[in-house]
């Protein structure tokens, strides 16, 4: 079983890869809309990528209102 830190770290790595920015520029508390300069639709692309990576399904209501990597990681962690 992964720890929350490991899950968060993997999310940051995948986000950096998907949006082509250096991993070192991302931190768990970052607001991903602001940091990745993305809109709500592009955020959903990231969610799908994360679902595929972790092999889970995240219902829309679970991610509604989530704006930072750490909270996103905790929602994913709860379904691992």
């Amino acid at each position: 079983m992964k720890t929350l830190e490991q899950t968060t770290d993997e999310i940051l790595g995948l986000a950096a890869q998907h949006f082509k920015i250096p991993r070192s520029e991302l931190a768990p508390t970052d607001d991903f809309y602001k940091k990745l300069k993305i809109d709500s639709l592009r955020a959903l692309e990231l969610i799908t990528r994360l679902e595929n990576h972790f092999g889970i399904e995240l219902p829309d209501y679970e991610v509604q209102g989530v704006t930072d990597f750490r909270t996103l990681a905790s929602r994913i962690q709860a379904r691992l």
């Binding site: 809309y33 639709l41 692309e45 799908t48 829309d60 209501y61 679970e62």
Partner: protein, 568 residues
């Protein structure tokens, strides 16, 4: 389509649809790769009547109000029809608001019934409902054994006898739709049955529905566009509404081909996303194919400049149209301003974008571009029955857009003062600035009112987000739309700005900036201020200490320029 002039109410028209097309499919609900349900008009009616029976037995009477808090799904429309069947007034709420905002609007609307989906109720149930009049709460799809905190299960809620249809008069309220005001002054537009029936009759000939025509519903159904385009219009034409429970770009793309979608309403943000995806695919084509595509696009552009020729576009650009399911007639875009170059991109591909102008207060569409010829620089001509005039036009013909029509709302709920300011001598003052050109097309060129509309179609009033900055340790503060301080002839990229009047000794760029940033982050992204402005003078105020916003804005606009905004 049904002859709507024979019906007095939305409920009666929906009943007419059930009688007219009992065996046609009216609703399809899918989640990811799976189809969850498919209902005929008969099934739809039976499900709604079970619910109506339960509501009636619980004392829900004609004129009572029922709020719906659900993402787009079959049960949304079933619940709405049940409310109309009982003669109730529907209060469609935005499920994306916060629990505190939901409670505030439930209280303001005086709703007696709340119908919510389980995850939303779970977040809401801890709230303080003492300010509301909610007596009955119905929750959909609650897991077995879940603590419903006093709510009842939607699926089990039914009456013991068949409910009686409660007729309503056309001038009576059908819906209370909140166009804004979640944090400050709620703007509950009271829309009558006549408003909806008139709007549907005016718009349906432009985008007709028939049994087999399918609408993909992705804009929240509480929004005027989806309520009309994804409920009233398809149902009164015998069409089908497709709902997706997981709204992701890839599932939307898949739904186009799987369900052969005829229409979909989108906001500019989604249209831009579709454009980006298509551009990326085109860029990845081998050089030869790219040249061929460009040549076909040029031919299509020339052939459709004067009017759309869908059959020709589908034949020329077969693969592009196939990606949209091959049967798409139009994407209805609204909720915010769309950039002309985006409209041109789709027009060149033969994908018709029904671009127009509207607002909740006028029950959706005011003008529509009929593309005869294609005019990406305008919002089209008034729809049937709609009168438009420009109030106090300047030398360039630009003034406030006012509209008069049978689709204009009755009033703002419990706010006669705001109603009197907004509807003057029967004319709805939109607060938008525009002009009408020689061919009768409307062009919008800015706003008179202090508000912004985001690319997601969200109306944001600065007063509504000021509570996020409550007790900010400064002398006083105020939020404005940037274009309200420094007017610009554009409706794209609108932003909000926080005006801060610090105490004399304060270092605003130090600790205060951090506090502003922290508060700003708490807001959902589309409600955030883009920066702040330091203002050294006391704000002008009324005798009751309200900020005189227009006077303050004028002074700031005169004494500072846009470069004074410190970005956050």
């Amino acid at each position: 389509m049904l002859n709507l002039s024979q019906y007095e109410s939305v409920g009666a028209a929906l009943t007419g649809a059930i009688e007219h097309w009992p065996d046609e499919v009216c609703l399809i609900e899918a989640d990811r790769e799976h189809e969850r349900c498919r209902l005929t008009y008969r099934d739809f009616g039976a499900a709604a009547l079970r619910l109506a029976g339960g509501l009636e037995e619980n004392g829900f009477a004609p004129g009572d109000r029922a709020a719906i808090l659900m993402s787009n799904q079959s049960k949304w429309l079933i619940s709405a029809y049940a409310v109309f069947f009982c003669g109730g007034v529907l209060v469609p709420l935005d499920y994306k608001l916060t629990p505190a905002e939901h409670v505030a609007l439930l209280a303001h609307s005086k709703s007696r019934v709340l119908i919510a989906e389980y995850p939303i109720w779970r977040a809401l149930s801890d709230g303080d409902f003492t300010s509301t009049r909610v007596e009955t709460i119905l929750v959909t799809e609650a897991p077995a054994g879940a603590d419903l905190a006093g709510a009842k299960r939607w699926e089990e809620f039914r009456g013991h006898k068949a409910p009686e249809f409660r007729p309503r008069k056309c001038q009576e309220a059908a819906c209370i739709v909140y166009s804004s005001g979640t944090g400050g002054r709620p703007k509950g537009c009271v829309l009558t049955h006549d408003n909806y029936l008139q709007q549907c009759a005016a718009v349906s000939p432009l985008w007709p529905f028939w049994p087999g025509a399918r609408y993909l519903s992705i804009i929240p159904t509480n929004h005027a566009i989806d309520f009309m385009g994804g409920f009233i219009m398809p149902f009164t034409g015998g069409g089908t509404v497709v709902h997706l429970r997981t709204l992701r770009p890839e599932y939307i793309r898949e739904a186009f081909t799987r369900y052969k979608i005829t229409y979909m309403a989108v906001v500019p943000l989604i249209l831009k996303n579709l454009e980006r995806g298509l551009r990326e695919r085109f860029a990845a084509l081998p050089p030869m194919k790219k040249r061929m595509l460009n040549a076909l696009v040029r031919i299509n552009r020339m052939a459709t400049r004067g009017r759309p020729r869908l059959w020709l576009s589908r034949a020329l650009l077969k693969d592009v149209h196939k990606a949209f399911g091959g049967e798409l007639r139009a994407l209805l875009v609204g909720g915010a301003f769309t950039e002309p170059k985006t409209l041109e991109f789709f027009h060149d591909l033969g994908i018709q974008i029904a671009n127009g102008y509207g607002c909740t207060e006028a029950c959706t569409a005011i003008t529509v571009n009929d593309m005869k010829p294609f005019r990406p620089d305008t919002l089209g001509k008034p729809v049937a029955g709609m009168q438009i005039r420009i109030v106090n036009p300047g030398a360039d013909g630009v003034g406030e857009v006012a509209v008069r029509s049978k689709t204009v709302m009755s009033h703002y709920l419990d706010d006669p003062e705001l109603t009197a300011e907004t509807i003057v001598d029967g004319w709805l003052l939109t607060g938008d600035l525009g002009k009408i050109d020689a061919s009768g097309h409307l062009q919008l060129l800015g706003r008179k009112k202090n508000m912004i509309v985001t690319a997601e179609g969200k109306n944001i009033y600065p007063e509504d987000i000021e509570n996020a900055f409550d007790s900010l340790p400064v002398k006083e503060f105020c939020v404005f739309a940037v274009n309200y301080l420094w007017p610009q002839r554009t409706m794209i990229g609108e932003q909000l700005v926080l005006v801060v009047h610090p105490d004399a000794a304060q270092n605003v760029n130090g600790a205060i900036r951090g506090e502003v940033e922290r508060r700003n982050q708490r807001l959902v992204p589309y409600k955030r201020v883009s920066g702040y402005v330091l203002w050294p003078e006391d704000f002008p105020r009324t005798a009751s200490l309200k900020i005189k916003r227009n006077i303050l804005a004028e002074k700031i606009g005169r004494q500072l320029d846009r470069s004074a905004v410190q970005p956050l």
